[in-house]
Symmetry: C2
Subunit: 390 residues, 2 copies
């Protein structure tokens, strides 16, 4: 048996960062910046007023001072002349500050009559001018890799990029296996259940930035599984669900080996979970997940998501642990790491009573996995424990 | 001046939950369940083995007991007969438990020879059987509204739903206004800057489950703005950025009023931010955001996202505050609520030094808004303060 950390490292070693592609800026959100990108210009490109008011010389900014207004500077329409002593230029937020001006007195501190203005309130010391380049200078770099969030998209726009170099999304083929499965919406026979794992995994993978693809259910036959692997061609990662155990009916490993997979088979010391199968097959990484719904989703979270992140260039770290206070005591843990379905509310964590790995209702109500190390001692209510947010 | 909470309530009052639509299960992730949905069957639909082993009678499950194996039950292929005294059925994980059996002895505790098996290790008291309906019963309900996460998608599949009733995505038209703006990728003139706010807002809105649409930049003219409002037809929410201030060049309010908007104009006591304009226009909600990049994004976060959530049926609550410890002292706050760009690392929060509302570089590095109430006293390093995660 290997630990979760060991299994995670072995699986992450099956993948590498994918190549770059260019996408339109409006589609770059949630993607991963693939190479450093730099600003083609200063922002702002000129000294700009941060207020509506009048541009004057700072040396003349005194209470009761009077000025003659000689023009106007609006956003997009600068005042083309230069400003002399005793002169002012009407100016609006974002507009270029005219040559010769180095102060903006805000309109609330001024009374205007015709083309004359008088400062009627102390103008203060703040110039109300944003220097050219105060946000960024030409050549300033946004460093890759970086998961692009809304503020990054705004920044890339301001830097004048309409296309963005991002890492290609990993293509993931999802194969549910088992004679007992029918697709949602079909009428199941008495012995049958609905394929659910691959739908949950598809959602999880899409959320993580992958491009998942659901293949038809593979039956428990060599031919059906071989067909499924064939349909998976072109994927960066092939995931089978079910059939990776040790029962007589677990053909997945046999078929994958027959197709040339260098097979690794890990017994991972964790609950929920079962042996994981993994290797590389025809240019793709391949992972066989257990078929119990909760095991499949938890293994997807712990092992598959880091592989996706590694392919996106974000590194393959396990998700970061958080801490909360136990709401109720826990008995001593056994020899396997345990990922208990739990709810965290207001920094207190409560494990669900029934931890059977078939219970999707419990997983659906959970918002965290309470993480217990192997052989963790009994824990009293109020103790701090680790969890992973879901 | 009104408070952030008052402005938020006024804006939320401009919208209502949208209608329902049916989407395929594979596209339901991230959508909001619009009405309660119930299971059409029990899960599992039959008592099922949770292990690979042999189904027997619990009363006979004793060390050294021998059984004759009379058949096999695999997932999808039940054993059709009934099991008598001294008999066993080979059974695999997930397979129906045969009639007459109420215990599964795991294969590791058995030695098999031909069609005879002997229990070689204490079989324990755990039956290794999942009763029919242990996950859910026919009629069990998933309650709306509910943002559908991956585990919910798996659960809906197991309930046998291939289509899901969800709230329609809010259609949002985004209008950047200003003679100074060009689109990313264009060559700006000396007085011009790149439109960035609407790109950042588009990403923010898409992330929140809306369907944003970028309209062409509207110029500072009545005709151009009227055209933009015309192009926005069909949207549930129209957002303008810039031009909602009080300067001579702020035409947005004038044009919207001319088109029949019942206008509300709020001075919100907050930083960053400026007056917000809002109302209803031709069947849509309309909000005018300030044009400073950081103001637009922060107001989007505080005011627009709750409107999106309200339209999705999730309620219009402000995002929930979290707490962290101040890394460095803060001076007394002024009379307006302040949303400082900040970084939270390991439960300590640090406000950026330069809080100018034009700095996209600072917003892009921030992962939180440190929230200071109006007139909040000086705060020492180590004190707990509120923040909103970004």
């Amino acid at each position: 048996m290997i630990t979760v950390a060991e299994a995670h490292a072995l699986l992450a070693g099956l993948v590498a960062p994918l190549e770059m592609e260019q996408v339109p800026l409006a589609e770059a959100h949630g993607r991963v910046l693939a190479r450093d990108i730099s600003a083609g210009r200063d922002q702002p490109p000129f000294a700009a007023s941060s207020m509506d008011g009048y541009a004057i010389k700072a040396a003349e900014a005194e209470l009761h001072a009077m000025f003659r207004v000689i023009g106007e500077s609006a956003a997009g329409h600068r005042f083309s002349g230069a400003l002399g002593a005793g002169q002012a230029v009407r100016i609006f937020t974002g507009a270029p500050v005219p040559e010769g001006a180095d102060f903006v007195v805000i309109q609330e501190n001024v009374s205007a009559k015709g083309d004359l203005i008088t400062i009627t309130d102390g103008p203060g010391v703040k110039s109300n001018i944003r220097p050219a380049g105060v946000d960024f200078r030409k050549g300033m770099t946004l460093a890759a890799p970086r998961l692009l969030r809304p503020a990054d998209i705004a920044l890339l726009a301001a830097m004048n990029h309409d296309r963005v170099p991002v890492t290609r999304r990993p293509k993931v083929a999802l194969i549910a296996t088992g004679d007992e499965l029918v697709m949602p919406g079909e009428r199941p026979g008495a012995d049958q259940i609905i394929a659910s794992n691959t739908f949950g995994l598809q959602a999880m993978l899409a959320e993580a930035g992958a491009q998942p693809r659901l293949l038809p259910v593979a039956r428990d036959s060599y031919a059906s599984l071989a067909t499924a692997f064939d349909l998976a061609q072109g994927a960066d990662l092939v995931i089978t669900v079910g059939g990776a155990s040790v029962g007589d009916h677990d053909l997945v490993g046999e078929v994958a080996a027959g197709l040339g997979m260098e097979r690794a088979f890990y017994k991972v010391a964790m609950r929920p979970g079962k042996p994981l199968m993994a290797g590389r097959l025809a240019g793709a990484a391949m992972v066989g997940l257990p078929g119990n719904p909760v095991s499949a989703m938890v293994c997807g979270y712990l092992f598959i998501l880091p592989m996706i992140r590694a392919m996106l260039g974000l590194g393959a770290d396990l998700p970061a642990l958080k801490q909360a206070r136990l709401n109720a005591a826990l008995e001593r843990n056994g020899p396997r790491e345990h990922y208990l379905r739990a709810r965290v509310e207001a920094d207190r964590v409560t494990a669900f009573e029934n931890q059977d790995s078939s219970l999707l209702t419990v997983l659906s109500e959970a918002n965290a996995l309470l993480v217990r190390p192997a052989d963790d001692g009994p824990r009293a209510a109020g103790e701090m424990v680790n969890y992973l947010p879901l």
